[in-house]
């Protein structure tokens, strides 16, 4: 054997030795929109600090995530780190022994009980995901169109419809960009967006859980009555308009207002070449308390069957650290870190959304905690009902009665 060959062999042996020490953690997520941000900012920041641990971010499509994740977990092929949906979907995974108990993770002390609420057992004892981000609902609008038509941010419901009517009258732009094709946008950006104003946020949400309020009570039915009016402002063929269609219509400057969740901010910043503003869900009368949906949306936990629990915990502790919060809040404007230590948000639009936390009462989406545990699943039913009401194929009362009937069929407190 020649010397060079020996040398090459030796080198390659040494090389594989060094490689073998590296542990690669695979991260499961539904945020396929964030792939670039993870690869460009979050992963390099972590890997620089923790040599020997590599991260591999492998997202799937949002609507299929739960289905794909569950089958992967059952088959034992899921990644080491699992991005957690809030509440029951993740609780079921924890109770099924798929997610590890994180009660002894040091980083957990950085979060308040409210922040942890979406990923903890019903008794509050065992957290199983590190809270990562919340999203806030409201409306994003095209400032240039508003200026051109001489419009101002509406604060009351009457002003809101006034603005919509003026845009419609002018005829150049679609007043509001939303479709009902994918159904979830009607419930999430419609019902859960303006809803808290009518059912008074946490008051109405907890009353539903305790059984003190019903989904066909006026404060809930009224939300559908409002949604039913939206159909007129959504533009031609909104019935077949998909979620990405709506995003495109708005960012191309063809629509004036976009009923939104703050998660749109980072995507829109890259696409829209006009200035954007945002206003919170309008209130009934000037000076009324405003309510916003400030939903605990993303957590991150550990696959109980991971082969690298120590490395996974190192990563989770880093996610719980202020350092991650800072990267996350600014790399992904529109997702608000849940850690107790406040983080400065530099993106103006994202900061606008966050500022409502000081003026308005916060709540989370009404159908997420406990109420979507049975069949029919309230969240999925809400999608369908909201879309039907906007299209006018179901009246607000019919929709509300149907939801209540479905919920009462399996939820004891509502029987």
């Amino acid at each position: 054997m020649t010397k060079t060959l020996k040398g090459a062999l030796l080198l390659s042996v040494l090389g594989t030795g060094a490689w073998a020490q590296d542990v690669t953690l695979t991260i499961e997520s539904w945020r396929n929109d964030d792939l670039k941000i993870w690869q460009d900012e979050i992963i390099p920041a972590f890997e620089a600090e923790h040599p020997g641990i590599k991260l591999n971010f492998t997202p799937s499509a949002p609507a299929e995530y739960n289905a794909i994740l569950n089958s992967k977990l059952d088959a034992g092929s899921a990644g080491d780190i699992i991005t957690c949906r809030p509440f029951d979907a993740s609780l079921a995974l924890y109770e099924g022994g798929k997610l590890a108990d994180l009660s002894d993770l040091e980083g957990m002390s950085n979060f308040s009980d409210v922040a942890k609420s979406a990923w903890v057992t019903d008794d509050g004892e065992h957290p199983f995901c590190v809270p990562m981000g919340a999203v806030i609902h409201g409306f994003i609008y095209n400032k240039e169109i508003f200026e051109e038509l001489g419009l101002e941010e509406p604060t009351t419901v009457a002003e809101f419809y006034d603005v919509l009517d003026k845009i419609k009258e002018d005829g150049t732009y679609t007043p509001m960009a939303m479709g009902t094709n994918d159904q979830w946008e009607a419930a999430t950006m419609g019902y859960q967006n303006i809803g808290p104003t009518y059912w008074k946020g946490e008051e109405g949400r907890t009353a539903l859980i305790s059984g003190d309020a019903k989904l066909n009570d006026p404060q809930f039915t009224e939300v559908f009555t409002e949604l039913a009016k939206w159909g007129d402002y959504l533009g031609d063929g909104f019935e077949a308009q998909t979620y990405p269609d709506s995003q495109n219509v708005f960012t191309l400057g063809r629509a004036a207002i976009y009923p939104a969740g703050s998660w749109e901010v980072s995507g829109f910043n890259n696409l829209a070449d006009f200035e954007m503003g945002a206003f919170p869900p309008p209130v009934a009368a000037e000076g009324d308390t405003c309510y916003i949906s400030d939903h605990t949306d993303i957590g991150i936990g550990m696959n109980a069957a991971t082969e690298h629990p120590e490395e996974a915990k190192t990563f989770l502790n880093w996610v719980a650290s202020p350092e991650f919060s800072k990267i996350f809040a600014n790399a992904l404007p529109g997702f608000y870190p849940l850690a107790s230590e406040p983080v400065e948000i530099t993106d103006p639009l994202a900061a606008e959304f966050a500022s409502w936390r000081d003026q308005c009462e916060s709540t989370i989406r009404s159908s997420y905690q406990i109420l979507s545990r049975g069949t029919p699943n309230l969240e999925n039913e809400l999608w369908n009902a909201s879309a039907a009401v906007i299209k006018g194929t179901e009246t607000p009362e019919e929709a509300a009665n149907r939801l209540q009937e479905g919920l009462a069929s399996w939820y004891e407190n509502q029987q």
């Binding site: 609507a63 299929e64 739960n66 289905a67 569950n70 089958s71 949906r85 029951d88 979907a89 079921a92 109770e95 099924g96 479709g179 009902t180 094709n181 994918d182 159904q183 979830w184 533009g235 031609d236 063929g237 909104f238 019935e239 077949a240 308009q241 998909t242 269609d245 495109n248 219509v249 159908s367 997420y368 979507s372 069949t375 029919p376 699943n377 969240e379 999925n380 999608w383 369908n384 879309a387 039907a388 299209k391 194929t393 479905g406 069929s409």
Partner: protein, 302 residues
């Protein structure tokens, strides 16, 4: 007797093992799983309770019957549109006077080899009220008023999807019938010609009766294919089979139930019950065909 022909066993074994492992065993396991349910995380035997829920409990039965009715409509459109068009195309292609027959044959067959996902998304884009070319093309010939967001309206969505599927798969009956037509011996047609049967009447009186067995096979293939359909609806409308479940067929209903969707968690037991019901429906359909129709078809030998 008594001598086992070992070479037969050896040659059959791989196929038997593979089919047992990937088809027969999973099938029976699905049927078995449909008889269980989870209670406090323990799997317990519940007999036919899952089926009782599926057929009688309003929450489940409404969805089930809706999906089944939609499935029948989906199948009916294929039978009434796809197969006659396929036969007509085959008849035209087999005409010796037609030039460029090979080109047409290929062009019509191409969509069949495309993936459902491509077909679903391509048509979704074509028909989109915002970006689609359908509205502007209709506008160009003055028929804009006919345009509607077809995939977004409860009344039209399922029919639209069925027609898209017809467009994609019309090549299959066409090829099968084409092959059957080509296999008809010249002597028979010539004998007909001598008796004065030519042109269209030759098709109706001689060719059609001879290809009836092929049409039967195509019908049963269409039936099995349509009642197992899933991909196109899923690609175009998602697992919720919107708008308002108007395009929900058994395949999408089972997918949603078995694997779960968005916040709804998967329920393998009810999912298996639906899968078993689908299996039963297809089995009944195939039996009706085999015993009711196939046995009455006369076969001709030349």
């Amino acid at each position: 007797m008594g001598r086992i022909r070992w070479h037969v066993v050896v040659f059959l074994a791989p196929a038997v093992l593979v089919y047992t492992a990937v088809m027969i065993f999973p099938l029976f396991d699905t049927l078995r799983l449909a008889l269980f349910n989870a209670e406090d995380k323990a799997r317990i035997f519940v007999g036919l309770a899952n089926f009782k829920r599926l057929f009688l409990d309003p929450i489940w039965s409404e969805q089930f019957w809706n999906a089944l009715a939609n499935n029948f409509w989906f199948f009916l459109i294929h039978m009434l549109v796809q197969n006659p068009i396929g036969i007509a195309l085959a008849a035209l292609l087999s005409s010796p006077k037609l030039r460029f027959a090979a080109l047409y044959r290929t062009a019509i067959f191409v969509p069949t080899i495309l993936s459902f996902v491509i077909v679903g998304f391509a048509w979704k884009l074509i028909l989109s009220p915002i970006w689609g070319i359908a509205p502007s093309m209709l506008d160009a010939v003055g028929l804009k008023s006919l345009f509607a967001p077809w995939l977004g309206k409860e009344e039209y969505a399922l029919t639209t999807l069925a027609l898209i599927s017809v467009w994609q798969f019309v090549g299959i009956p066409m090829m099968l019938i084409y092959a059957a037509l080509l296999s008809i011996p010249e002597e028979i047609l010539e004998a007909g010609e001598v008796d004065g049967i030519t042109g269209l009447s030759a098709f109706w009186k001689i060719k059609l009766p001879l290809i009836l067995p092929s049409i039967g096979i195509i019908s049963i293939l269409t039936f099995v294919g349509n009642f197992n359909a899933f991909d196109l609806i899923y690609a175009a409308q998602g697992a919720l089979a919107g708008p308002d479940f108007s395009t929900d067929i058994l395949g999408t209903f089972m997918y949603r139930t078995f694997f779960g969707f968005q916040l709804q968690l998967g329920d393998p037991y009810m999912g298996s019950a639906i899968a078993s019901a689908m299996f039963g429906i297809i089995l009944i359909g195939v039996c009706i065909y085999l015993f009711g129709i196939q046995r009455r078809l006369r076969h001709y030998q030349f």
